[in-house]
Amino acid sequence: MKVKDIKELQEYAKRVRQGIIESIYNAKSGHPGGSLSIADILTVLYFNQMNIDEKNPQAKGRDRLVLSKGHTAPALYSVLALRGFFDFDEIKTLRNINSRLQGHPDMKKIPGVDASTGSLGQGLSIANGMALASKMNSEGVRVYCICGDGEIEEGQIWEAAMTSAHYKLDNLCVIVDNNNLQIDGKVNEVMNVYPIDKKFESFGFATINVDGHNIEELIRAFDAAKKIKGKPTAIIANTIKGKGVSFMENIVGWHGKAPNQEEYLLAMKELGGAV
């Protein structure tokens, strides 16, 4: 199933956002801001780009996605459910003691999750291992790794970036969700990571800057990355934390807070969702 129609993809992205709000509201905890900022990226990957089969989540040769910023699991669960890996209603059980939808992604419990993540900075190393293994086995797998802009303050990311380039992992694509907010404030004020593209470039990556909410631009970037040979690609996706819910947009306070009932109803209304 590959969706090519831009309007249809935008509609899916909207439903992914509804799922994020729905799940976090029901859980009464979770991370809406960074989940909403990667909704379009995940929609394009899971509905337009990745070679995956929801009926065979462990299929050999499938493309992989490592959500290195694991706290934005609600976005991943929402897109996986929408893609048919599990029932969409299950997202309401997020973080519940009887649910398999853990606060951070668990590859052993949830169909479609390729890597367990949560402790920041570790996903790119895992993605490197996958990309290396695919090359050894000639499986033709593409590996995607989504990192946060705050997350790349972790030193292990740069250890891993060296490894990606050293082993010429051209089947690897890193996406940096550049929303410029982390828990304690603006990324450039807490610990300046900029310029992100120049850093990855100097580590040996091909880099592409895109508007992380523009479906067409994202498709073009992912298509272009597939054609780059001999080096990994980093897509710096410029995004808005909380994108799609007006009162959450660019507000750092919505990093890790659930909406109350009133806020939930308002958010769902803005996203055109049924409650």
């Binding site: 993540t117 570790q122 996903g123 190393s125 291992g129 996958m130 293994a133």
Partner: protein, 309 residues
């Protein structure tokens, strides 16, 4: 025990790993710029396409191994114990043990017997850290035969393993090709005056003590606990019932290591006094390995003193 022929367990590891590489094509090896010291260089020469030097980046190395394991590879990951269990603890915990991935962490240069490099390189807390992790198996071998057995045996279980190895040459204890069982300790001797539970490099010291005490008419048994997790509870309880005195010895802190584990078993199953020999809540220091064993009270002579006290 052959005191003349000596070999370090890291050397046995390197030799066996290269041999195993021919048998099992899924084995891949990762190192962090220490392949000549950890002896993974032997595998690297034989199978360069299955060897990945990650550079001086242990955290990245553990994560890369985790990713390789998700594709059915069996990564053997080596560096010094300090940088494996210490520096990359979070990566081992969250990246390898939580998803129960099939990664074999084979850490060399454990304990004070690292010698001259001193405290920053003498890992004395790795058993403690690694045995606390769910899904992890912890093995600490005492000689060439046992190490070679372990290197192959751990490839047959589909879960993470921490294999603790040493730098210093040690005597050959067991017959070549002797096999063991993961989780089953090895009892040497039937003496009832005392049991000395030992693991890793100091098993040889315990055996020397046993021999010397025999001359003096004191009969002890040595229990080589090569698997610290899962621990052989039955063996510990049996020895507690059959022998008068219980002693544990390890080239590791007495906090959280073999002695602690035995004390846990005893307190729940058969309460009895245990004397724990090991590093007593302090850092190591530079010196020759043999001098350090003496300095920290981990020699056959020290064991004899404890048995007789």
């Amino acid at each position: 025990m052959n005191m003349e022929e000596r070999k370090a367990t890291r050397q046995s590891y390197g030799e066996k790993l290269a041999e195993l590489g021919s048998k099992n094509k899924e084995i891949v090896v990762l190192d962090a710029d220490l392949s000549n010291a950890t002896k993974t260089s032997i595998f690297a020469k034989k199978f360069p396409e299955r060897f990945f030097n990650i550079g001086i980046a242990e955290q990245d190395m553990m994560g890369t191994a985790a990713g390789l394991a998700t594709f059915g590879k069996i990564p053997y990951v080596s560096t010094f114990a300090m940088f494996a269990a210490g520096r990359a603890y979070d990566q081992i915990r969250n990246g390898i043990c939580y998803p129960n991935l099939n990664v074999k962490i084979c850490a060399t240069h454990s304990g004070i017997t690292v010698g001259e490099d001193g405290a920053t390189h003498q890992m004395l807390e790795d058993i403690s850290l690694m045995r606390g992790l769910p899904n992890m198996t912890v093995i600490s071998t005492s000689d060439d035969t046992q190490t070679k057995w372990a290197v192959e045996e751990i490839s047959k279980i589909n879960s993470p393993v921490y294999l603790r190895l040493c730098r210093l040459d040690t005597p050959l204890i067991y017959e070549k090709n002797k096999t063991f069982e993961i989780g089953k300790a090895e009892q040497i001797g039937e003496g009832t005056d005392a049991t000395v539970f030992a693991t890793g490099i100091v098993v040889a010291e315990a055996l020397l003590a046993k021999k010397e005490l025999e001359k003096q008419g004191i009969n002890i048994r040595v229990v080589d606990i090569h698997t610290i997790k899962p621990i052989d509870k039955d063996m510990i309880v049996k020895c507690a019932k059959e022998t008068n005195k219980l002693i544990s010895i390890e080239d590791h802190s007495i906090i959280g290591g073999l002695g602690s584990r035995i004390a846990e078993v005893l307190s729940e199953e058969f309460p009895k006094k245990l004397i724990r020999m090991g590093i007593k809540d302090e850092f190591g220091k530079s010196g020759k390995a043999t001098e350090l064993l003496k300095y920290y009270g981990l020699t056959a002579e020290d064991i004899i003193k404890q048995v007789k006290s």
